[in-house]
């Protein structure tokens, strides 16, 4: 059955419209402590004369409301979610159990070190595990996301070059880079220079040599890159930048393809971030909280943000910043709940298990790519790593069907859409990352849906242009939303 809703239909009322005067959820028992009048503690003009107009609901109303909202959601919990570059893998339930242990979940951030030993030990060990996985000498767990990790690393790079007495102004990025790379560099005050990819979608050594000079602070590189391709000349790339005195940063968003296979530190990178919410399976629909720990080689260690966890005869403690540290980049110790889950993931898989993660991710991506070969053009059709790029350019040329139309129609078939229109160097890109946690049957059904959509593009193209047809809301007018935003807060 297919229904179409008008854009104005209310799928679920707001709490304020559901509320009924005098309705209550849980009621606290009477306190046996003496009451204190607020006026005696708070300046009188800050004290309310009337109670706040909060919605009044029963617990039953609340649970129904939030469950209905949850059921409207399309998530990694309910559907295949091949969102390229985002590594939407299954989030093992055991992590929730461990992160929910009261010693972690109820630890107050201002608790003294002596009462935080378990959490500090976990953070101390996690820093070292990640350093081992990344081939780095030290790791900071503070950055709250990947872009924050990039920003932190670039601040360190700037401090490093300044400490050498030769500040540098330029950051070089590739034309296939995540948009966060140039954004982080610009936010850090660097001039951004873009280097073109070659015909095989890799960094061209020749182009790179023409832009990297003695004013280049950092070259930022993603490996495997956003086309899902391994940069085979990475050793030459890092050497080329080092020869000019620059640092090389690896955007570790695609680390899921490398776990246990090769380490950024061994490829010549000076700095790298890893998205624990991608690679290490932290739930990350709707934007977090995530984590973007940054690993660095020894020459950058003095610049790491503070605090770091240290161990000594009195146990674990938070260490104050050294004279060259860039200081704090996050309150307290980072997103600890996410870090606990990453620790649990690494400990439950072990080194062999982590290696199987990348093997599974690469195998699944290549299998899916083979299923789609001949149906959709593949950008740079070689063996891929954990993801690959299909393109809607043929359908656009023949029927005017765009990647966006395919993405919307996939929802009707019960699949979340791939990342679309990125990387920018591929026309009408569909960036597909299945991850290692999906079964062969799921991959086959997804390929089948894409084949059906290809068929529909020839037989009933209008069906694609107006998709989705089976979702709670139909196609949203994102152009009007962007041009005439109706903002209220």
């Amino acid at each position: 059955m297919e229904k179409k809703h008008s854009p104005g239909r209310i799928l679920e009322p707001l709490l304020k419209d559901l509320g009924q005067d005098g309705r209550r959820a849980f009621q606290l028992p009477k306190t046996d402590l003496p009451a204190v009048a607020p006026e005696t503690q708070i300046p009188s003009d800050w004290v309310r004369s009337k109670p706040a107009a909060l919605p009044e609901l029963s617990e039953r109303d609340l649970v129904k409301h939030f469950m209905r909202l949850a059921h409207l959601n399309f998530s990694v919990e309910t559907n295949f979610y091949p969102l390229g570059s985002c590594t939407m893998k299954y989030n093992p339930r055991v992590h929730e159990e461990i992160a929910g242990l009261s010693g972690f979940a109820q630890l107050h951030p201002y608790a003294p070190d002596s009462l935080s030993q378990g959490t500090l030990q976990l953070l101390f060990e996690l820093e070292r595990m990640l350093a081992e996985v990344l081939g780095m000498d030290a790791v900071t767990l503070q950055p709250a996301a990947g872009a924050h990790g990039e920003f932190t690393a670039l601040l360190m790079a700037r401090a490093y070059h300044e400490a050498q007495g030769r500040p540098r102004k330029k950051v070089v990025v590739t034309d296939s880079s995540h948009g966060t790379n140039p954004a982080s560099a610009a936010l850090c005050g660097f001039d951004v220079v873009e280097v073109k990819s070659n015909a095989r979608g890799r960094v061209s050594l020749e182009s790179l040599a023409s832009v990297v000079d003695h004013d280049t602070a950092v070259f930022m590189m993603t490996n495997p890159n956003t086309l899902g391709l391994f940069e085979e000349e990475v050793m030459k790339v890092t050497q080329l930048v080092h020869d000019k005195g620059g640092l090389v940063y690896m955007d570790g968003a695609n680390m899921n393809a490398l776990l246990g296979q090769v380490r950024p530190g061994d490829m010549g990178f000076d700095m790298v971030h890893v998205n624990i919410h991608k690679t290490f399976s932290i739930p990350h629909g709707s934007g977090g909280p995530g984590g973007g720990p940054v690993g660095v080689k020894a020459h950058l260690k003095p610049f790491l943000p503070a605090p770091m966890v240290a161990s000594g005869s009195a146990g674990y403690r938070l260490e104050s910043p050294g004279p060259q540290s860039i200081g704090r980049v996050r309150s307290f110790f980072g997103n600890v709940g996410a870090l606990v889950r990453a620790y649990a993931y690494i400990r439950s898989l072990g080194t062999d298990g982590l290696k199987q993660v990348s093997e599974g991710a690469i195998l699944n991506a290549n299998y899916l790519k083979e299923l789609l070969r001949g149906i959709y053009p593949i950008a740079v059709d070689e063996s891929c790593m954990h993801e690959f790029i299909a393109s809607a350019k043929e359908m656009k040329a023949s029927q005017g069907i765009k990647a966006m139309d395919i993405a919307k129609r996939l929802l009707d078939y019960g699949f979340y859409a791939p990342t679309i229109c990125f990387p920018l160097i591929v026309e009408e890109a569909l960036m597909i990352e299945p991850s290692e946690t999906e079964s062969r049957q799921t991959l086959e059904s997804f390929a089948d849906a894409l084949a059906k959509i290809k068929h529909e593009s020839e037989e009933t193209p209008e069906r694609l242009r107006t998709a989705p047809h089976r979702m709670p809301v139909s196609r949203l007018d994102e152009v009007q939303a962007a041009r005439e935003p109706n903002l209220r807060w």
Partner: protein, 128 residues
Amino acid sequence: MDLNGLKYTKTHEWLRVEGQLGIVGITQHAQEEISDVVFVELPKVGKMVSQGEETAVVESVKAAFSIYAPISGTITTVNESLSKDPGLINRSPLEQGWIYKIELRDPAEAKALMDAPAYEAWAKGNKH
């Protein structure tokens, strides 16, 4: 309007030279690629720019794209209509959707740019 005589960059800007003045916009091919434009960040009038320097930003539903100066000079006028109606770039990229006018520092720089057939061939061949 005479659209012959437009010069093109590899970064998909066009330049029309009228005496000492240049008019700059993005190409038909570029507007098709980036799709619906939702915002244009215009340069400041009076700003001096060098050829290849970032001068404006065009934001579409896909991403934000930098607009580079096809030629060196001083920005004299910006197309204020784009602030209210950024869709002009999609509807009329070569005429009403112009972005800024620039007083040329060295008109000879235009010689390095492509003519229409060369640009079209280049844009066609420059895809994965």
